[in-house]
Amino acid sequence: MTVASTFARRRRAAHGTPEGTEAARRAAQIELSGVTKRFVTPAGSMFTAVRDVDMTIGAGKFCAVVGPSGCGKSTTLTMVAGLDRPSAGTVSVGGKPVDGITAGTSFMFQADALMPWKTVVGNVALGPVFRGVPKKQAEAEAREWVGRVGLAGFEDYHPHQLSGGMRKRTSLAAALINEPSILLMDEPFGALDVQTKAMMSNELLGLWEQTRPSVIFVTHDLEEAIALADQVVVMTVGPGTVKAVYEIDLPRPRGAVQEIRFEPRFLELHHQIWESLREEVERAYARTANAGGRS
């Protein structure tokens, strides 16, 4: 009863009045223009992670970012979240430059960012608790979300008692409970086995289609990127910059990610993007091989 009514409320919120939707949509558009990020290494030298990145992610769009390791994909995400500031250029969300933590954002990390001392419910409830929702209510909300990601019955388990896939589900619930308008994911399923990864991808798509936040999904798995996203951004080897942007015109809802990868259009896109990505991967490989040879 309560679950059903919450669903109804959420659906109304998501598909509500046209004006409301429009406003919400504009608020979640992500724009990066001329973004450069330099770090000072502990040794005192300068290191450029990303250079002149221009990227626009329309509100409610699912954007996947692929590129060789160390091309600044994660750095880009942290700047959108407001955890880090660009050295040059601007990051703006909904037309406003990012200053401090971007409101309405959730972040899913490659490693589990679960508090090992909190139970599944305790972890999922953190979002509402931090927003100032009373503890009881936050936990009730968390229980509902735990059920939605298929972890009913595991509410009072601690993270170390769960499998990798279950921990990911917990992280997903913890990220979605705040009903973010922007969801940033940094290789969230990178550490999972292939089957679990496919299942989690399906579930992510299902949940995303309900509330439609803008997503930036960093991955090194091109198939995953194409299967999930509206838009695939290929980044060059570091200092990373945007090499090419591909629109993925596969129809939605996409259905099972295991099956879509056999469709002709999927294969065509995969071939096309891989041509572009391969160069970068090869260059990155040559670079590390050289560095290894020198040392």
């Binding site: 942290t78 979240a81 955890l83 933590i101 409101a103 954002t105 959730s106 972040f107 990390f109 490693a111 589990d112 960012a113 508090m115 090992p116 001392w117 909190k118 953190l126 979002g127 608790v129 931090f130 927003r131 601690h158 170390h160 008692q161 913890a174 705040n178």
Partner: protein, 300 residues
């Protein structure tokens, strides 16, 4: 290339094998249980034998005058001394009063030192600038033999409880401080970033992420810290007091009474073990979320 195709086995064929396997399984399990029990018995026999050999040897060697009981005491003498203290008290009042005094000093010093260590450790661990400012001074303070501060406290604060509590809390502070500081520094960056993105204020990050995460480190330090508190209380009493176990020991030393020293030592050991047990209990309560480590599983 002419290998026969693999044929699935029928369950009927493995049926009888299954039941024998069950029987063997049960026999093996019983065997394991037996050997575990045997090992446990042996362990306790060996432990008691060790105690008997040490205490008995001590008693024997001192009776035979191979070891001089005048300097080294003897078990029977220690028991007699304890008995005497319980029945007639010490020259500073009942033995229970001495125990209570020392215990009170140690516990108060422990509480003050832990509170200070945790607060300062968490603060410096989070505020980089403060830590950089304080770091050389902390290094110097850590290098000073702090036990010497006892003399200062005795002169400044007198023979009462305050000087002992101060010494104990200074000793405790540094142990807890270093662990709390390190614990805060070791907090998972991902957890911090996650909490911040979820909208946690600085205070909420401290409360929900930093302190629970550092708690493992802090609690590990408490075991050593209580030992430090007792050392502080006893040394404080050595340096000047009107009652307490440290004073009892100092008096026994001045009277050439090694049995008295050993007897007091024994009481202190019981005190320390009790406190250790309480801290272990607290540890289990606060860190119940932790998976049991390999060594703990082996011990159970």
């Amino acid at each position: 290339m002419s290998a026969p195709p693999l044929k699935p086995q029928h369950s009927a064929e493995i049926g009888p094998i299954g039941s024998t396997a069950d029987a063997t399984e049960a026999a093996i399990a019983a065997d394991v249980r037996n050997s575990t029990r045997r090992r446990k018995t042996l362990l306790w026999v060996a432990r008691i034998a060790t105690l008997v050999i040490i205490i008995g040897g001590w008693q024997l060697f001192t009776s035979a005058k191979i070891v001089d009981p005048f300097f080294w005491g003897r078990p029977s003498g220690i028991v007699k001394q304890l008995n005497d203290w319980v029945r007639h008290g010490t020259q500073y009042g009942s033995i229970w009063l001495q125990i209570w005094t020392t215990f009170k000093e140690a516990v108060l010093g422990f509480v003050v030192g832990v509170a200070g260590g945790v607060v300062v450790g968490v603060l410096l661990g989070q505020v980089r600038f403060l830590a950089d400012v304080a770091s050389p001074y902390i290094k110097v303070a850590n290098a000073i033999p702090r036990i010497v501060l006892g003399s200062l406290f005795t002169v400044a604060l007198g023979l009462g409880i305050a000087s002992k509590v101060s010494l104990a809390s200074v000793l405790v502070f540094f142990v807890v401080f270093f662990n709390a500081f390190q614990g805060v520094r070791e907090v998972d960056r991902n957890l911090l970033a996650n909490a911040r993105v979820l909208g946690a204020s600085r205070l909420a990050v401290t409360r929900h992420v930093v302190v629970p995460s550092a708690l493992t480190w802090i609690i590990a330090s408490l075991h050593v810290a209580f030992g430090m508190a007792i050392i502080g209380a006893i040394v404080g009493e050595f340096l000047g007091a009107q009652k307490g176990l440290g004073l009892v020991i100092a008096t026994a030393q001045n009277n050439f009474n090694p049995n008295g020293v050993f007897a007091a030592m024994f009481i202190i050991a019981v005190l320390a073990l009790t406190a250790e047990g309480l801290i272990a209990l607290l540890e289990r309560r606060l860190l119940s979320w932790r998976p049991r480590s390999q060594s703990e599983v082996a011990a159970a």
